[in-house]
């Protein structure tokens, strides 16, 4: 049994950019770069992709003030910090939604499959974590790739989700290497969120 309860979450609020992406918020000169601005150097292994999208609230309105974080394996399915992980790939991205368009966009590499602890593999995926005003505890979701039919069909997490809802996790290829996925916090297309 654990002895201590986890510290409670509180909303990141409307001013999260001050602390997490100060350069984006106009507080320049404090940090050289905003954390998570670059996920891969030129030397990183694997296929270059972008993942972009928007976030909508329960009224169908675009959310402009969210902060999105991405965490993923490298092209070989290893995470930063694990033996053999690609030293040119951080696996961590952080992107404030654009104040005008609401878009978030990550320039990254296509992740490899990740081990499933009970045996077998998970399909390539990127974990997203979304915080904003009105979100009391960060929303954890996963992005899978719509063009990975075979791997997706064997993924143990997707297998837990009804087909119509699993579609909310599938990023669709646009032009070569560009994937898009919109996130809906409520409504008929509400994105699947996880408590892991």
């Amino acid at each position: 049994m654990s002895k201590h309860p986890e510290t409670a979450s509180q909303t990141a609020g409307p001013y999260v950019h001050i602390g997490c992406t100060p350069n984006f918020a106009g507080l320049t000169g404090l940090y050289e770069n905003d954390l998570g601005a670059d996920m891969a150097t030129d030397k990183a292994q694997g296929a270059r992709i972008t993942l972009s999208g928007r976030i909508f609230d329960g009224a169908g309105d675009l959310i402009h003030d969210a902060l999105v974080e991405a965490w993923q394996a490298d092209a070989a399915g290893r995470h930063a910090g694990q033996p053999g992980a690609d030293p040119h790939f951080s696996g961590f991205g952080r992107c404030p939604c654009d104040a005008e368009t609401g878009e978030f966009r990550f320039k990254t590499v296509k992740p490899g499959p990740v081990a499933w602890p009970q045996g077998g593999q998970q399909a390539p995926h990127i974990t997203l974590w979304i915080v904003a005003r009105g979100i009391n505890i960060g929303l954890h979701t996963r992005v899978y790739f719509a063009d990975e039919d075979v791997a997706n069909a064997q993924d143990p997490v997707l297998a837990e989700i009804a087909d119509n809802r699993a579609a909310t996790l599938l990023a669709r290829p646009q032009s070569a290497g560009d994937y898009r996925l919109d996130i809906h916090l409520q409504g008929p297309n509400e994105t699947v969120f996880f408590a892991v």
């Binding site: 909303t11 990141a12 997490c20 329960g58 996880f194």
Partner: protein
């Protein structure tokens, strides 16, 4: 089921660094929907989140090292003003320990903090409060925990501020904390409040947490033992992140 050799290898590691995270206890956290906090009404998912045991994707996390930090990153009194000029307002030291649910220190945790200035005003394009900006205060800082999980930074006491929610809602004085532990499953954003502030129990954002004791753990007590005499008061804020399930190995050690 096929025997998973990687699992066996993990069992031999310190269980703080291997194995699944304890499931998150929803009762320790605010509900997604808390109607008195108006913004949560359209931004709270309606479906129950789907659970599965953590995997390498949640058990690993971004790797940050001390070379990320600049010399003034943990000094909000001086990290913004020109020529090292000090921010305006009561000077405070905020310090504490980051631990997991078993009480073990979380070393190398990155904490990012942000706050309003002493008058309750944020340095942000969307901020509309009439209180003035302080030319010497940015309101942004960061620090990493040492091998014992300890951290400390200097800043000014933030002011309370009104916000558009109900007809007359005021946020209690608070500092926002973003915390990275060892695994992405430990990712947490929270707010620290100050002992004795009468606005805490009137705040709809605080009120989203049902458990009174969970709220009390967000309230930092005044810590007279760690003040800087003739310089700064001190407040202590300890943070608990999720722990990993105990391994068979450690249970045996404790059981025999």
């Amino acid at each position: 089921m096929i025997r998973d050799q990687s699992k066996d290898a993990q069992m031999q590691d310190d269980d703080q660094n291997a194995g699944p995270y304890l499931p998150r206890n929803a009762a320790s956290h605010p509900a997604a929907l808390h109607p008195p906090y108006r913004s949560s009404r359209l931004r709270s998912p309606q479906a129950e989140p789907i659970t599965f045991p953590s995997t390498p994707s949640e058990e690993s996390g971004p790797v940050f090292t001390g070379d990320l930090l600049g010399p003034l990153d943990n000094d909000l009194l001086h990290n913004f003003g020109p020529d090292g000029q000090s921010a305006i307002g009561p000077r405070i030291i905020v310090h504490g320990r980051v631990q997991d649910q078993f009480g073990r220190p979380v070393a190398g945790a990155l904490l990012e903090v942000w706050q309003a200035n002493a008058g309750g005003r944020y340095r942000h394009a969307k901020e509309g409060y009439i209180a003035p900006l302080d030319p010497n205060f940015g309101g942004c800082g960061r620090v990493m925990t040492d091998t014992e999980g300890r951290y400390s930074f200097r800043t000014v006491m933030p002011g309370a501020y009104p916000w558009p929610n109900g007809p007359n809602d005021w946020r209690p004085a608070h500092i926002h904390f973003s915390v990275f532990g060892a695994g992405f499953a430990q990712r947490l954003i929270t707010q620290m409040y100050f002992e004795g502030d009468p606005l805490i129990w009137r705040c709809p954002i605080v009120g989203a947490i049902d458990d009174k004791r969970a709220v009390e753990r967000l309230i930092a007590p005044l810590d007279m033992d760690n003040t800087a005499p003739m310089d700064a008061l001190a407040y202590r804020f300890d943070i608990t992140l999720r722990g990993r399930e105990q391994t068979l190995f450690e249970n045996r050690m404790e059981g025999l």
